[in-house]
């Protein structure tokens, strides 16, 4: 049994006719009863408009789940198209029943054609995003792409840290961040940007034993004068060296984005710190 073999012309003609009739019916209905939309979709337009203001329009900068949210909130034409399609299917099924003709294929057409329209709209949005991304990233090296990405300034800073401050071979780093104020995007990317170094992310409220780490990075200290730096460094030392075997920290670089310290276990304090020429111990805590 195979009942899906009607001619294309007939299927298309019936589907299109039903869709056209459906448009007319809906047009009349919505012109006569404009409040029907609000009744059918309560507060939807308002909610979507709110989300549209909150979420950035995707231009290559939106991140992860925001990107999905952008897609998911980009339109509310779906229920209207569904209504249009459903009405057309209903017309075809009723007509098929009345005429005792099989209306499955035209009804399927009345679903597929609106689906194709929705898909064309999505493809058009996708093309727009591709054009935006092309302007931003096309024909650029991966380094240039990172620089032009949302966290380009942070990428540049960490690259300079890798080339100018840290040794070439892999080091163990503890990166302290403030979960309340530091950008999570910036924090989460840091271990990747700092490769081949081995990075542990730690909250600035955590006290841990960093004596087996090589360096400590403290995000966003925002300190200008040396007196403030000294007070601040003792706090960093308490956070990083209070527990365990104890250690001392030497300030290697002070920057508005992050301070970098080298870690010296207490046992090695008598020896000169490697890679920390000119640095002074800023504090030591041990058991």
């Amino acid at each position: 049994m195979y009942r899906f073999d009607q001619s294309l012309l007939r299927v298309l003609a019936l589907a299109l006719a039903a869709l056209l009739l459906s448009v007319l019916v809906l047009g009349v209905a919505f012109s006569v009863l404009p409040t029907v939309v609000d009744a059918v979709i309560p507060r939807s337009g308002e909610r979507i408009a709110q989300m549209g203001r909150v979420l950035p329009t995707f231009d290559g900068q939106a991140q992860g789940r925001q990107f999905i949210a952008w897609v998911m909130t980009s339109s509310h034409v779906i229920p209207m198209v569904a209504l249009w399609s459903a009405l057309a299917v209903l017309v075809l099924l009723v007509a098929g029943h009345w005429k005792r003709r099989n209306a499955v294929a035209p009804a399927a057409g009345a679903i597929v054609l609106p689906w194709l329209l929705l898909d064309a709209q999505w493809q058009s949005q996708l093309q727009n995003e591709i054009h935006a991304s092309q302007e931003r990233f096309d024909r650029r090296s991966i380094r240039e792409k990172h620089l032009r990405d949302g966290q380009g300034d942070w990428y540049r800073f960490l690259q300079s840290l890798k080339s100018d401050v840290l040794p070439g071979e892999s080091q163990r780093l503890v990166l302290f961040y403030d979960p309340e104020s530091d950008d999570p995007q910036r924090v989460e990317r840091s271990p990747f940007y700092l490769l081949p170094h081995n990075v542990l992310l730690a909250s600035q409220s955590a006290r841990l034993d960093a004596s087996k780490a090589d360096y400590v990075i403290w995000l966003s200290p925002g300190l200008a004068d040396s007196a403030a730096q000294a007070v601040f460094a003792s706090r960093v030392t308490e956070q990083a060296c209070e527990t365990g075997d104890g250690c001392a920290l030497h300030l290697l670089q002070s920057h508005p984005m992050a301070n970098v310290y080298t870690v010296l276990p207490l046992a090695s304090l008598n020896e000169p710190p490697s890679g920390a020429e000119g640095g002074e111990p800023v504090g030591e805590v041990g058991q």
Partner: protein
């Protein structure tokens, strides 16, 4: 590594596992005498990826340096072995298929839909190749281990904070929630293949996932007797969904891999229900075992597939049993679903959720609002959920759903319910619908499969 050898390695890393997996799938599933090229292509892709993951882990366990060409040689050897095994133990010869005459316009429509699918995936390829890695989870979860392992040439452990601080050896810090590493291993395989030539290349396997999914869906619908044009519309409707497209280009996300494993498991389950052949049952078990490799919540989907096998077994063994016995078996199987679910509800910090849990779950009203907004108003699903509602309204979905639902429906509906539960416990505070799409995604391809099987019964003889 220069561009030529990077491209050669890339192509080899993409196609060789698929080829090898396809050959073994042909031998394995061919024993049942019920297969076609498309179903083998889809199922073979998953087996190929599983072989890659196993090879990398095996080589590392043996203390070997992880290098691409030695591993690729093993895969090539396995491909040759599959041909030898096929020669020694040939599959039963399929009877000559009787092809229904297909109207020419059907072929035209199929061609147009194929063109639309290809165009969409070319667009997605552009997106994948243009953007740098940009998803928050990807930075810590997937990408970092892959790059570390690539640089080290071995699977260096990622450990918790305390262990990292105490360790003197070469271990890396696991800066996110513990998660299975299969997606990182897939990225590592691409990195090894391209020699780290361009980071954008490492996500190309993500583009093959919907391709394999679409092929498998088409193939299994055709196996069930669904007309070519309807099977093609089914594949198109799945691959055109913006949500599926999104998870294809979200670098490093595991959702699309879990969706692939679970969906193909449901397809295999349906084939086993029809044939009763061990090859499809064992394949379904293999896919169930693969689900937890991609995500913590994969344990739940693996359990659903195993329960589906039990359900299908009972369906096969007890079709004429007394009603009371059938009801008894159903109750036992439903209890096997419900009791663990209730346990999970009472232990909301269970690892099975797969996402960071909110302290506060959504209320039923919030859940209803989110569902209404997320699946009926937003553009991520096109008309999928409306079609489901329409078929329910027109009673095209099996009327016996509450008497003895088929295993595919049972597992699909259970996966949908699980998705809602997961969303309820992980959505609070996220402020968007991303969690909803992630939670529902694994159930969507099986849902499309079930919908088209049920819908096609109206127009042709479908099993």
């Amino acid at each position: 590594m220069n561009a030529e050898s990077a491209v050669a390695g890339l192509l080899c890393s993409l196609l060789l596992p698929w080829f090898c997996g396809g050959l073994w799938a042909y031998w394995w599933l061919g024993r049942s005498g019920r297969y076609n090229l498309y179903s083998l292509a889809g199922q073979g892709f998953v087996l190929g990826i599983a072989l890659v993951i196993g090879l990398i882990c095996g080589a590392d366990a043996l203390g070997m340096q992880l290098q691409f060409w030695p591993l690729a040689s093993v895969l090539a050897g396995l491909s040759v072995l599959a041909l030898v095994v096929q020669r020694l133990f040939p599959n039963p010869v399929l009877p000559q298929a009787h092809w229904e005459p297909i109207p020419r316009w059907h072929m035209v429509a199929v061609g147009l839909l194929m063109a639309a699918i290809v165009w969409r995936h070319v667009s997605l390829l552009e997106v994948l190749m243009l953007r740098p890695v940009f998803t928050p989870e990807a930075w810590s979860d997937g990408v970092l281990p892959a790059f570390v392992w690539f640089a080290q040439g071995s699977l260096t452990p990622f450990v918790e904070d305390r262990e990292w601080l105490l360790a003197a050896g070469e271990v890396y810090a696991n800066n996110s929630a513990p998660a299975p590493r299969a997606t990182s291993l897939v990225q590592l395989w691409s990195l090894l293949g391209t020699g780290g030539f361009d980071n954008s290349f490492i996500f190309l396997p993500w583009l093959l996932v919907p391709t394999a999914l679409g092929l498998a869906l088409f193939g299994h619908l055709r196996l069930a007797g669904v007309p070519t044009i309807l099977a093609c519309i089914a594949s198109y409707s799945l691959l055109s969904l913006p949500v599926v497209n999104e998870y294809t280009v979200l670098h490093g996300y595991w959702e699309i891999w879990l969706t692939l494993s679970f969906s193909l498991g449901v397809f295999a389950l349906h084939q086993w229900r029809l044939t009763g052949h061990w090859s499809w049952a064992s394949w379904c078990l293999f896919l169930a075992a693969l689900c937890p490799a991609f995500a913590s919540s994969g344990v739940v989907f693996a359990a659903l597939l195993c329960l589906g096998l039990c359900w299908a077994w009972a369906f096969r063994r007890l079709p004429l049993a007394p009603v009371a016995l059938r009801w008894g078996v159903q109750m036992v199987l439903v209890a096997a679903l419900v009791v663990p679910a209730l346990w999970l509800f009472s232990h909301p910090h269970s690892i099975f959720m797969g996402s960071p849990l909110s302290v506060e779950a959504l209320s039923i009203e919030q859940l209803g609002t989110a569902l209404y907004d997320g699946i009926f108003l937003q553009s991520g699903w096109h008309l999928l959920w409306f079609v489901l509602l329409g078929l329910l309204f027109l009673r095209r979905i099996p009327r016996g759903l509450l008497q003895w639902p088929e295993a595919r429906w049972m597992v699909t509906l259970a996966a949908l319910v699980w998705g809602l539960v997961q969303f309820r416990f992980t959505a609070a505070g996220s402020g968007d619908f991303a969690n909803l799409s992630a939670a529902l995604l694994p159930a969507v391809p099986p849902l499309v499969f079930c919908l088209f099987l049920s819908g096609a019964r109206q127009v042709s003889d479908v099993q």
